[in-house]
Each structure stands twice: as C-alpha cells, then as structure tokens.
Symmetry: C2
Subunit: 472 residues, 2 copies
C-alpha cells in the first residue's frame, strides 16, 4: 500500500463543525453519530446527501465506514461513492468486507478504478475477485497494468513477491547525487508516488547498496552514490510476510529491495505495508489462542459458527475425557460429595495457570525471544513459577476447604492436588507450543484446548486419586 | 528510534561462513549455536574472542543476544562490547533487560555513549535509570544534551512528547525547492540523521503542511514548497502512544510533526517508533487476556509470580463461588453421581465459547472496529452464534450422555443446559469488555476471569437446577 499524506477530516476542521457532522471523534475513529447519519441517508435513498457526507472522507475512513454498515446499507453507499475514492478505499478494507463490496461493483468501473492504484494495491484487490469477475476485469484493463497484476498474482499469497510494489527508484553505481536528482526530475512519472531509498544496482541489476534520500539531499551534487551507499537487506520474492515483518521491525527499515531468485531487483517493500502485516499476524495469534478462525465484522452467523464450532467440538471431546476420569471415582464421590464440590476448583486454577504459561511461551516464540538456547531455562523457570504459585495458593484453598467441610484431611488433599496440578500446568503450558513450533506448526493453534484438557484430566485424577487414598 | 540502514550480518555473508560462526539463521534470528559460542567465550573469560564475536553485530542483534543470556553472562558481555555498539543497542533492549544492563555500566561511560544517540533514544534509556545513577549520568553530559533529555522526561510516559525526536526539518512558507535543498546541504549536521518529510511552518512556527522529500526531489528548484505541500496530521505532545499508533496505521504515515499546546512545532514522530508501539500494545493485550502482568525473559521467578498469582487468587475466589453453587445441590448429586461426572463438561464448553466471544470483542475494540453504532448488532450476532453453537453441540452431548448413563432424561437435561449456558457465554463474552471499555478501563484486563467465572457459575446452576427439577 502506498504511503499517503492525504489529510483526513480532523475534528478541529472548522468547516465540519459548522456543518455539524464531524466524521471523526477525538480519537480519530469514525463517530457513531456520523455512521448513523450515513445510515439515515441510505435509508432515505438520499443520494446527494450521501455523496456530501462521503466525498471528503479519507479512503481509510471510507473502508472503516463499510465495516460499520450492514450489507444493505453498504450496497447503497457503494453506488454513491465517487469511483476514485472507492478505488482508493478498496485496499484498506478487511478482506471479508472487500469481497462483499466487490460483488456490487460493475467490472468496467472496477477495471478503470484499479488503474489509479499502485501495482501491489491493485493486485490485492484483484486476488479477492471471483474467477469470472477477475477475468472480466483483467480483460478490460490495458495490457501493461494487466501484465503487472498477473505477474504479481503469480507469486504465493503472503510472499514478498505478492506484497511488493513494482515501482522503485534504482541507480547505476557510477551515478553521483546530481545525476540522480536530474533523473528523478526527468523520470518522475515512472517512479513510485513516494520513495525513501534509492537502490544502487550493478550492471546485472542486482542491488549492491541503498542511499536514503535524506542522506543524498545533504551531499553536494558531485558526490558519487557509492560513497553514500550503505548495505541493504535484499528480500527474496518467496520470503513469507511474517519474515518480512520481522526484518523490518528488527532493523527499523523504511523500505527494502525485493530480488528474484537470481538476485535481480524486481520491486520494493515499504514499512506501511509491514505495519498491516504486523497487525494481521497479531490478530491471528490472539484469535487462534482463543480458538477462533478468521472472521470479521462482515462474517455471517453461519460463517462464524463454521469457524468456531469445530473448536468447541474438540473441547467437548476433551471434556468427556475429563468426565471419564471423574467416572472412575464415582464410588468415592458417592461417599464424600464434598469432592464433587471442590474438584472444579483444582481444574480451573490449573487451566488458568497453564494458559498463562502457554500465552507467554507463544508470544516469546512469535517474537523469536525463545529458541533452543534458552528453551530448557524457560521450562525450569516455568516449573519454579508453578511451584511458587502452588505454595501461595495451596494454603489458601487448603484452609478454606478444611473449614468449609470441617475436615483438615480434605484441606490437605486439595492443597497437595493444587500444587501438583500447577506443575502439570507449567510443563504442558511450555512444552505444547514448543513442540508444535519444533514440528513447524503454528504454536498458537490448538494449544489452549490441549493445555486445559490436560490440566482438567490431571486435576481430576490427582485430586480424586489422592482423596481415594487418603480419605477412604 | 532512528531508522538505520546498518547492515545486519546475513547468513549468506561469505566471510561469516568461512569463520563458521554465522550469528543469524535463515530466519534472521540469532542462532542457538551462536549464543552458545558467546556463552562459552564468557565462561572462559576470553575477552578477545568475545569482542571478535560481538563487534560486527547489528545493535538489534546485540539487544537480542542480551535477552538470551543469563545475568552472569550478560555482565561479562557488557564489559567487552565496544561502547558505541552498547549505546546503540540500549534502546533496542526489552525494558527489564536494559535496566539490568545499565546497572553494570559506569555513569561516565554511559554519559558519553548517550551523546551518540538521538534525543528520543537517549531519553528512553535515561528514564530507566535509578534516581542516583540518572543524576550522575545527566551531570556528566554537556548542557545541550542534558537539557534535551530533561525536557523530554518532562512529558508523561507513553505520550507523543516523550516519544518524539527533537530533530526535524522545517522550512518557512516562502522557500522553494532550491532554497530547501541548499539549506539541507549547509545545515546537514543539525538535522536528524534520516528524515522523510519537510514540515512547512508559518511565522509562529506552526506546521501548515508537509512535503515528502521524494516529491520535492521530483520538482524543479524554482517550485515553491507551498505548491508541493499537503496537509499534515499534527500530533499534540500529550497524545497517548496508542492514539499515535492508530493514526500512523490508519493513514499510512511515515512521519508526523509533534506540536505543543500552542500548535508550535517541537518535534517529530517516525513510523519505526510506531512499529515498536504497535508490538508493545499487542503484547499487552494478548498477555492481559491470559492474566499475565508485564514480564520478560529477564524477569526473576519472584517477579513473575508477583505478576501472575493475584490473577490466580481471584480465580480461586471465583472458583469457590462456583463450588458453592454445586454445594447447593449436594443432595441431588448424592442421588445421581452421574451429574458430578457431567457437570464440568457444561462449564468447560461455556468457558471456551465465552472466551471466543470475549477475544473477538476485545480485538474489535482495540482496532476500533466496534463502537456504539454496531454494539447492539454485535451483541445479537453473538447471541445467534451462541444459539447455533448450542444446536450443533447439544445433540452430540445429549446423545453421548444418554447412552453413557442409559437415561435419555440425563441427555435432555445436559443438552438443554448446554444451550442455555452458551447463551450466557455469548452475552457475558460481549458485554464484559463493552462495559469495561465504556467505563474507560482496558477491556482486556480481568475480562477473561470474569467470563469464565460467570459461565462456571451459571453452567453448574443451570445443569444441576434442571437436573433437580427433571430427574428427582
């Protein structure tokens, strides 16, 4: 996506205060009042009023607005959006919402609108189209733009090749600052709208270094670029977006050249794309830990249930395993009903402590703070934490249970079971994501359900087992 | 933090392969083998070998390395790090690790090292110092640098004022492209090392617009800046970092001017700082949902327990509330032990479904995808999802329980309880974070424990209550 300096509507804008419809609140998010105005205008079918509300919005705010609307209101709004604004807001939308908006846009309009966008943005829109619409749209575009989009779609989804922008500024090694500035002034139209680094390339078109344009600006015209140039992190077209985000974040990059397998410069990535990737990856991690598949505001109830219910189904199965442990001790429970009252406490605390250890481990793996060199240390640290948590909590629950049921042996049993189950929680909380990661699976997926299933299983087994030995 | 083009050690670097100690793996993260080499050299007290291993590292990799080392090894490594490299790596370290490293560095060395850094980076290091060390370090610095750091520390933590860089490039409204380039060439040293936008200011020093330097480069020398300039998002010094991140992300900004309460330009924020903020905020959200307070790799077991055990204590209390519900039905359980076997299934599924709804809601609030205009719709959608999940899962558990205990009435009771508890889960999963957010609390904090406590409580109550009515 291209960096843009387009001004958003700010709440301070006097024009807006006069009109009494400031779109953005103090926090730069669309206000509920503005969304309602749009909904009212859409309900009334008042196209002119809609256009008045919409035409000054920033594309990012248009995308945001779409997220707040129902499908019906969205289809009215799309009709009244100026085509250029629609085009610019498409790359900003959530995937699910974009898909639904695209269904409403005629292919010819879309083909024209896409030509206004940078190649990476246009490709990200086209990739979401249904096959027949995609063919119609591509057919209606000029040769050059179509070729650029088709070649972009030739790279794997979420790869650097798919994300990159084909426009960049490259200079041969023998140029100086003056040559470069003159070239930029002459060739301005073929360059990306905004760029931050100039890539110096050898005769084979392989990047050998980069010059930040602010650094170039500081130097006299006669300075050779190779004197100013610094090494660059060239990223290969097939590198995954998660890797790209990590490199940008770690080295504070603003842009980076993308090279083909032969090392030749074919595009560039800029930090604003990377910000989106980081948010996407974080969203995935947080939702996966909770057992939620990809869904957004535009997902139907059916789509949401299809994403979440398999998870609950697995949970149902693991809960039945836990129940079957309890069933082993039916005789014990029949004699001491207090155990049925207390057993969920042991499993609940175990589940929560396991989830704490799990979340910390998943996060450390995602940020690459955890690898083979500190895995063992991390494991023992979590075990120590589990033991310490146990020594804090066991006396509390032991005393409480002892008083409640007027039997200090019940207190001793639940205290001991708590400590043991917290050790189970610590070990399974660390080892589950580490093992998944070692096996090249996403450590966030299915970890939580496995951890709580284990702490339930052992929580019931340890508590009821100890009780059977000690109390009967 | 300043964008840097310094080259990291890449695995392909032939020099490194020869030396057989490539620091970075294919994934750009430090390899376990390299960390072990450092540990070995530190154990042997082999300073020259340590320096050889360290001196070519990128500051970000030095910071990373510190995270993988134990306190003892860290203190050896700090002694052998070249001072400039130490200074540059300090702003990259996790807060907890930086604190511990700083304890090892003499004040005079630190004062000298800090002068190499941009004002925002130097302030971020100084803010972590103990009071007496901070005084010694500031006293040993030249007047100008000290004043800049002290004024930065005058702004609230996590505010734009604290995060901003005091170096920026401003130009009066009457300058043209040529004037600006000449100024940059002449004044190069007072400007930030890298900059991306030139802020055009009025005579009161208030920003009236911005010119991306790539855009300026494209224009003839005689072009007035005001012709090229576009509106900018000026950020006030007291704006919170979360807000800053949202604005940068939404509008794809690379840099933004920071203004004081009088609207005068006092600094700038750049996107690479924002990437760090986004990661920090995401980290907070994901850890808070799991009930983990701030901790990192360098935290001691005691620090970790202090952060996690209060959470487990609250959970202990809520689990006892759940237990007291079960206690109400002791008589029922004594007659039908099957209920004790089955009741954790109802609460487990409720807890998981509630956590799903909660996580989706917390995420939507964090990304401002949820506000008053779609809150009600979100609530009803989650209720519909809860009901649909119930209609899928209830027959499964109903049949399983019916067969297991050879009593179709038990199957009917658990099926009905499951559906009702999934509705409880959906409503509490949405309403808890919405209410916390409305009351200006962080919706991620304490939500999870409240949601699972509620689904446990009602899960037991509904299941055992229905069972008492139907089965006895």
């Amino acid at each position: 996506m291209t960096h843009t300096d387009l001004a958003p509507l700010r709440p301070e804008d006097p024009h807006l205060e006069d009109d009494d419809h400031a779109a953005l609140g103090e926090d730069y998010a669309l206000t509920a009042a503005f969304v309602e105005k749009v909904v009212d205008a859409a309900d009334d079918g008042d196209g002119m009023r809609l256009r008045g509300l919409l035409e000054d919005l920033h594309p990012a705010d248009v995308a945001d607005l779409m997220g707040f609307l129902t499908a019906e209101h969205r289809s009215v709004v799309v009709q009244w959006l100026p085509p250029e604004l629609l085009a610019e807001s498409l790359p900003e939308m959530d995937d699910g919402i974009r898909e639904k908006v695209l269904e409403r846009v005629p292919s010819a309009t879309l083909a024209e609108a896409l030509q206004e966008l940078d190649s990476d943005d246009a490709a990200s829109v086209v990739e979401d189209l249904e096959d027949d619409q995609r063919e119609r749209v591509l057919a209606a575009m000029p040769e050059v733009e179509r070729a650029a989009i088709e070649s972009s779609l030739g790279y794997a989804e979420d790869s650097a090749g798919r994300l990159m922008q084909r426009e960049f500024m490259a200079a041969p090694q023998f140029w100086n600052v003056g040559d470069t500035i003159d070239h930029v002034r002459a060739q301005g139209d073929d360059l990306p709208e905004l760029f931050f680094d100039i890539y110096v390339v050898d005769p084979m078109n392989r990047p050998v270094g980069g010059v930040a344009i602010s650094r170039m600006l500081r130097s006299p015209r006669a300075t050779p670029l190779i004197e100013l140039m610094e090494p660059v992190n060239a990223i290969e077209v097939d590198v995954d977006q998660e890797e790209v985000a990590y490199i940008f974040e770690k080295y504070h990059l603003i842009s980076a050249p993308v090279v083909d397998t032969g090392g030749r410069l074919v595009g560039q990535l800029t930090v604003d794309d990377v910000v989106n990737i980081i948010q996407e990856e974080n969203r995935e991690d947080i939702l996966r830990l909770a057992g939620v598949a990809d869904e957004d505001r535009s997902s139907s109830v059916f789509e949401i249930v299809r994403g979440r219910v398999p998870w609950l189904g697995i949970n149902l199965f693991t809960a039945m395993l836990g129940a079957s442990v309890i069933a082993l001790f039916e005789g014990t429970i029949q004699q001491i009903v207090a155990l049925a009252v207390l057993m969920p406490i042991v499993s609940a605390i175990g589940g929560n402590a396991g989830t704490q250890a799990l979340t910390v481990t998943v996060r450390a793996l995602a940020t690459r703070e955890l690898n083979a060199s500190n895995a063992l240390r991390t494991f023992w640290r979590e075990m120590a934490v589990g033991l310490a948590n146990g020594f804090v909590l066991a006396p509390l629950i032991g005393l409480a249970a002892g008083f409640w049921f007027q039997d200090w042996r019940i207190g001793a049993v639940i205290g001991a079971a708590m400590i043991l189950n917290l050790l189970v929680a610590a070990s399974v909380g660390v080892l589950t994501p580490l093992t998944l990661s070692k096996l090249k699976f996403d450590p966030a997926v299915s970890s939580a359900v496995f951890v709580t299933a284990t702490t339930d299983f052992f929580g019931f087994l340890i508590f009821l087992g100890l009780a059977t030995i000690v109390l009967l």
